[in-house]
Structure formats: structure tokens, C-alpha cells
Assembly symmetry: C2
Homo-oligomer: 480 residues x 2
């Protein structure tokens, strides 16, 4: 009997990890014990030595085993660990046609359910909403120009707001001015336009894996194919891996969160982002960057947009105010590079202009400096919430889970044992007043069934702890 299941969508090395953890649970392996040698385990499980090595390296990085030189690997005491999935099985991944799943709809609907702790949607501003400041500015705007709001605005958006956005890019060193920006109905429309600028039905779009489910749905709705590229928990897409992928597959364009990945919370260093832009432009492959989280970094420095490194104009930057200030305003934008003409035409053809009132209000918000002051506080709150949520999960979830350690954004990525399917208890969770995002919706090929995404973009209150307790119980029951 084979101990591992090669047809599972779970990586082989993760199955090795689970195998070791099961032995540990059943008492066969105890803290301090020496693990089987690489060669021995590889022959026992009928897999390659490098795969076992990968599992051991991963377990070592998680702190659950340690290597002693010239001796081997030893088991350490178990604890809730930092999540660092490694690459595996990726070489055999093919582009997939996507079918939309009603699960995504349920995750969305759960935002508006009454009496539900909504941990399923990434909504950073929830933790520090600028609603009062924006309401005050909007009232002031309306008292002056409410009548004007009734008329059509320019297709590419309010010139003043575009000017403000241009200044921000210029501050980062990017050569972007207001003429290069098109205002859209949120980043989602910006991404839709960007994809239609560079690809058509049937084309292969490279995406991160895991990847925000909204992007997967978008690619599906346009009839394109998604190709998952291995994405590292700490630094996002790796240039070497990307080079391999574009060599093997007819990638028409890449759609990446080049700053901070959702759901991983990984943070790509500027040099890596530059390397990716250089690599892609050498091959004339456009890069669409989803930049919505880049203002929500926890470290010292805001990541620089990939746009900054573009020499051929093949980078299209998409962003919005939805993660930083006002999701309900539906104001995003697009810096389309050399695709400017086409982007404007698609915007005009598919939704005409964007409401002006929200643009005027956000322009005031930026001009007054309040937006930047708000961002400073929002980042602190999120970083604090992040650690608090990690501690809560470590306290209430089973010991054998792994938790990501985000470097920005508003979500945690949690890995349960491979035999747990987080979809199974999604409805139960809703019934008990908690929503989360099941892992499988973050992959078009159905990976990550044993993962879940939990948002810490919340107002902290007692109900959060209750909600995490409920989720912990459900995972526990599901693992039985």
C-alpha cells in the first residue's frame, strides 16, 4: 500500500509532513527523537529523496524539527508554527480553464449577513474606518457642487484627483502624470480593462498561487485560462520560477500582486520586483500589477510599484482606495502604460465614466493630507491586529496548524492538516455566526482545500475571540 496519494492536489512534500506529524501524534515519534534518514523515508514512501528533503527543510523552517550536523534531523516540541509552504509538483501544472464556483458567492454574501463576524472578506479599513472624515468632506463637497454631480464626468475621471494620484507616483520616482491615469469603478474594473488590453478569450494568464479569488473569477469571466505560478510565503513570485514557467507555457500576460500578496501577506522586495519586470519585458510579456495593498505594508518602506521599473511600457498598474479608505466609493484607477488608447476605449465602451462625487471627495481627502495621516494609523492598527489574531488562532486552533506571518495587508493564511477540508465546515461556521474564506477558492485547480483565509481587518471586540473559538472547534471536529 502506498502511504502517499500522488493524485491528490496536496503537494507530496506536505503529505510527508503530515505523515511525520501523524507518527508524532500516535506517539511513534516523540520530541527529541531522530527522524528517519532521507534515503530511508524516500524508499519507505516510494518518493524521491529531494521531496523528503523538501519536507524536512520545511519542518525545520517551521521550527518543529532541527538539523544536527553529521547526525540528522531531530524532532522538537510541537507548537503553532509559521507557515512557509515550499514549491512542489509545480512543474506539472498546466493552464486551467476556470469554472466559477458558488462558494465565492457565498463568501461574498456572508459580508452582509446580520449577526455574523465577517472574517471572510479582506476589508482592511474595517479596522480603522475613515468614515467620519470622508462624510464630513463629502458634505462639504455636496454643499458646493451637488448639482454638478448629476452630469456626465470625463471618461477618464476627475483631472484633479488624477493629478493627486500622479504626484504620489512621482514621489515614488515613477514617471506617471495625470494624463497617464484612468479612473475606474474600483480596482476590479481596472483589472478587467487591463486584461482586455493585453489578452483575449483562450489566452493564458499567469497568476500567483494562492491568488485572490476575485482575480480567478475575473479571468474566468473573460474566458481566459489561468496558469498558477508558485508563490513563496515570504517574498512572493520568484523570478527563477517565473522564467521557467514562461519558457514552458505560452503566457500571454502576468497578473500579479507584485507588492503584497492576498492571501499570503508576502512582501516582495523591490529588487525582486524589478527583476520580474526586466524578465517579462525582455520577452515582451505584459505585467498587470494589482497594487491595492501596497500602502498597507508593516515594515519601514512602502514597496515601489512595478510601473517604476518598466522601460517598454508593458506594465499596467491597477489600484484603488477600496483597501485603504472607502470600498463603497468604488474608486480605483489604471496606469495603462503603452496600452493607454485601448484602455480608454474599453472604459468608454463598457461603463462610460465613473461617478464624480466620490472622486471629488477623495481628491479633498488627498489634498488635505488627511489620507496620509489616516494611512499611518491604519497600518499600525492592522499590524497590531495581525499579531493579536495570530495569537488568538494559536491559542484556539489545533496545535498542528500553520499560520502565515504577513508583512502587510489584512489577512492570515492558515494551513490545517491535509485531511481537513475547510469547505466542509464553511456552512456550519456561517450557521454559528462566523464567516471565513475556504482555501480552495484561491486556486483555479482546487488546491488549498485544507487552508483558510482569515481577515484581521476588523474592529476588535469580544466576538472576535468567540468567532475564532468556533472556527477552532470546527477544525477540530473536521479532523476527527
Amino acid at each position: 500500500m502506498r502511504l502517499l496519494n500522488r493524485s491528490s492536489s496536496e503537494f507530496l512534500y506536505q503529505q510527508v509532513i503530515d505523515f511525520i506529524e501523524k507518527q508524532q501524534e500516535s506517539g511513534i515519534l516523540r520530541p527529541g527523537d531522530k527522524l528517519p534518514s532521507l534515503r530511508k523515508l524516500s524508499s519507505q514512501l516510494e518518493i524521491s529523496v529531494p521531496t523528503v528533503k523538501q519536507a524536512y527543510v520545511e519542518l525545520e523552517r517551521q521550527g518543529s524539527i532541527c538539523a544536527r550536523p553529521q547526525s540528522g534531523y531531530y524532532l522538537q516540541a510541537q507548537q503553532a508554527r509559521k507557515l512557509m509552504p515550499m514549491r512542489a509538483k509545480w512543474a506539472c501544472c498546466d493552464p486551467v480553464e476556470i469554472e466559477c464556483r458558488s462558494l465565492i458567492e457565498q463568501v461574498h454574501e456572508a459580508i452582509h449577513l446580520p449577526d455574523t463576524v465577517a472574517l471572510g472578506i479582506s476589508n482592511p479599513v474595517n479596522s480603522h474606518p475613515p468614515d467620519k472624515a470622508l462624510a464630513r468632506l463629502m458634505r462639504a463637497v455636496i454643499s458646493k457642487v451637488a448639482e454638478k454631480a448629476v452630469s456626465y464626468g470625463p471618461i477618464n475621471g476627475d483631472p484633479k484627483l488624477r493629478m493627486q494620484l500622479g504626484f504620489r507616483y512621482q514621489d515614488l520616482g515613477a514617471d506617471v502624470n495625470h494624463e497617464d491615469i484612468v479612473i475606474t469603478n474600483g480596482a476590479q474594473e481596472a483589472l478587467a480593462i487591463a486584461l482586455q488590453c493585453v489578452a483575449e478569450k483562450g489566452d493564458v494568464i499567469a497568476i500567483e498561487s494562492p491568488c485572490f479569488f476575485g482575480m480567478i473569477e475575473l479571468i474566468e469571466s473573460l474566458g481566459m485560462k489561468a496558469l498558477e505560478v508558485y508563490t513563496c510565503t515570504e517574498q512572493g513570485i520568484c523570478p527563477d520560477e517565473l522564467a521557467r514557467v514562461i519558457k514552458q507555457h505560452p503566457v500571454k500576460a502576468c497578473l500579479f500582486s507584485t507588492a503584497i500578496n492576498n492571501p499570503l501577506g508576502s512582501f516582495m522586495p523591490d529588487e525582486r520586483r524589478q527583476a520580474i519586470v526586466t524578465l517579462l519585458e525582455q520577452q515582451d510579456i505584459p505585467l498587470i500589477e494589482d497594487d491595492v495593498y501596497s500602502e498597507l505594508y508593516f515594515g519601514e518602506q512602502r514597496p515601489k510599484p512595478a510601473q517604476l521599473y518598466s522601460e517598454k511600457g508593458l506594465v499596467i498598474t491597477c489600484s484603488s482606495f477600496s483597501k485603504t479608505a472607502a470600498p463603497g466609493y468604488r474608486i480605483g484607477w489604471l496606469v495603462p502604460g503603452k496600452f493607454a488608447e485601448r484602455a480608454k476605449r474599453i472604459k468608454r465602451a463598457q461603463s462610460c465614466s465613473t461617478p464624480m462625487l466620490q472622486q471629488w471627495t477623495l481628491n479633498e481627502y488627498l489634498m488635505s493630507g488627511e489620507y496620509d495621516r489616516h494611512l499611518t494609523v491604519l497600518r499600525k492598527k492592522l499590524s497590531y491586529n495581525c499579531e493579536r489574531m495570530r495569537a488568538l488562532i494559536a491559542a484556539h486552533f489545533p496545535n498542528d496548524i500553520c499560520i502565515s506571518k504577513p508583512q502587510g495587508g489584512s489577512v492570515l493564511w492558515v494551513r490545517c492538516r491535509s485531511y481537513v477540508n475547510t469547505e466542509d465546515f464553511f456552512r456550519q461556521a456561517i450557521a454559528r455566526g462566523v464567516s471565513f474564506a475556504p482555501g480552495s477558492i484561491f486556486s483555479p485547480s482546487g488546491k488549498y482545500h485544507n487552508y483558510m483565509r482569515i481577515s484581521y481587518g476588523v474592529q476588535w471586540c469580544e466576538r472576535i475571540e468567540q468567532a475564532i473559538t468556533v472556527l477552532g472547534e470546527l477544525i477540530h471536529d473536521s479532523a476527527k
Copy 2:
């Protein structure tokens, strides 16, 4: 030498009309003269007898010739005439792939030019803007819920506004309730979603000819092909003609203004609309109806939506408040029939939700009854403006033009002599402070180069008369 040009996009029968009018101008034919017999002219011009007949019938309908039984056709005194183009050349029309033209962009940009009388864009509410009432309601809404406007709204829109819209459909006898409606960023997004529900790249979409250029651009942006269907100046698409077209071509879906056509201002009787729905549903061809002008009828009765006649759920209704109340609010909607699931998924994937503030304001506007009172006044103003603009054009344009007689909406369709190209003096008009919409942008195959669309959705003032005088001079110069 051939007297007519068969390769011109101008209909042959219209070239016959121009030929006769030229003879009249040069004094060869005078009022009271007998015209050449059908047979004689057909042999002189090397065209078929029915084509000459078509020209004579058209001239007769326009009142410029009259038929005397057993004798023939006689020339009457010339005057600015009512426009009634007849079918011709349509049998040889094939679906065309569309290329977007920068002219449309220029027409759009002209709305925001300072010191320009904007007759190029159909903006009915200009003639009676409800800006003060809406501003008052919006202020009231904001004083209560401005903070809430910062958060995500439901994907398919505000339930209360959908309820109000549902009531309006129910009043017309259509079985539509709030669950069947998806709020969108204007009708343009509704149409984009509808097309993506029923067709994909390369598919043939039947459209009216002439057709609103926004639809042509939309079809182009989605990579679909447009098939122009002859549309009559008085009653819109004819069911017999449509039956012939869907027999000859692989029509995937139809996209029609089933109530009031833009630019013709034609008004389809309810029975004809019903016949079209029945015909299409028999063949399982979806009908997307652009219903934005149906509240702007000049007659007694609001036209009934095609949705009302649908038995198989193949009719998708798209509409908005942009032509009736607030174009800048960008609030439209979709009644997707049996495509409900797909429509919601596309909306979620491509632009997420629609701003709530404008929806709440419009809901108050509908609930209070102010919207209907506003519509009553708006219709009267438009109908009055329409006649006034027709008179102005008749007074200042050359004698040989034809003018449509709209039965709703806010635009006039003007035909100049066939050797006039209205594109030629578009830039000159802008330079002299007037914009209009050149005819060629209303046809994907470049018909209507000698037509122009002029909006009477304006605030009446002295500058309007000056603007029409300028246009008259430009046509005159162009005809030399």
C-alpha cells in the same frame, strides 16, 4: 459613364433621389414637371426598376413628388422634408468586424469643451435637469448615512431601489421583482454584462442601423461582430426583415432599442415588439433590449418593455437613470431573465458592487413620487424642444436636407445630400463652438456619412440658434 456609384455605402435608391434633386437644382426639372418613367430611368441609370420605384415612393412620402393614377410621378415644390429612409442594399450586408474610430472619442470630448454648444451628445436631462431636487435628497441621505457609504454594498445593488424598480415593471404588467434586477454602473455596463451573458468573441450580434455608437464600440471592445438590420424611421426594426436576417446569418443575439431608437427617434408599437420577441424566442435567440429612452415618449402611452412578452426568459432588459434623471450618478440596471446567475457572476468579477450613495438618493427620488412628476415635465420640454429645433434646422439648413420626426428621446437625425460628408466639417464646427455627431459613427460599415445627429436635449437659449446657423453654413460650404 455610370451615373450612380455602386461601391458607395450610400443606398442606391438614395443616389437616385439625389440625381433627381440635382436635375431640379440645375433647372432641368421644375415643380409640376413629370418625372421619367420607372423603366426609362432604370435603363438610364443602369439599375433595377424596383430601386427606382423605391426612390419615387420615398420622394412621394417626403412630399416632394406626387403620383397621379395612370399618368406617372410629378414634381412638387421643394421644402425641408420629413426623413423616411427606406430599405435598400440590405440583402448584401454581411456581419462586420468593428474598428473603433477616434471620431467617437472626439464627440465625447466635445461635451467638456468650454464655450461649445454641445449638440453632439444625447443628454435629455439637460433640457430639464432635476439637479436641485436630487441635490436636496442627496444631502438628506448623507446627513443620515454618509458613514455607511464608505462600506461595500451588495453586489446586485440596494434592495430598496431594486424594489422600486420592480414596482415600476409590475405596473407595466411585467413579472419582475427586486430579486430579478442587478444594479450596474449605468446602462453601458448593463449592456456589457448582457452581451457577455449570451455571446463571446467572434459571435454575430444583430443591431439596428443606424445604431447608437456606444453599442457599436461595446460590441467591438468584446471582439464580437455587428450585423446591421434595416431600421425604419417610424417603427424601428421590422419583424419580416429580422426574420430574413436571422435566416441568412448565424445571429447569436440581438441588441436593439426596442422602444425608441437613437438616433432615429422611431417608436416601435407594442405589437411589433411582441412579434419580435416571439420570433426570436422561437429560434432561441436572446434579445438584449436597450430601454433607456422608453420613459421619454411623446405620445400617450409609455411603450411596454420587451421583457413583458418573454416566455422563455431570453430577453435581457438594460436601462438606467442616465437619460431621465442623473447621467453622472452612473446608475443603471439589468433584468437578466434566465441569465441571472451568469449576470451576477460577471458583475461581481468585473466591477464588484455599485456605489450606494447614488442608489439611496434615487430610491428616495422614486419613493417620493418626484421622479414621475419630473418625467412628465421632462417629456413636455423635450417634445417642445424637438419641434423648435426642427423648425430652426428647416430655417437655417439648405433646403435639400431631410429631418427625422422623433416620437421620443432627445435627438434629430438629419440627412444631407449624398455628396456631403459630415465628418469633413466636424472639426470646423468644434472650432466655431458647436459640436454634433457625424452620421458615420452610427454604422459599423461606415454608412451615413451624409447624416448628422443633433441633440435637442438642451437648455434653450440664443446660442442654440447661432449654433444651428453655423452648422447650416458648414453644410452649405461642404455641398459646394
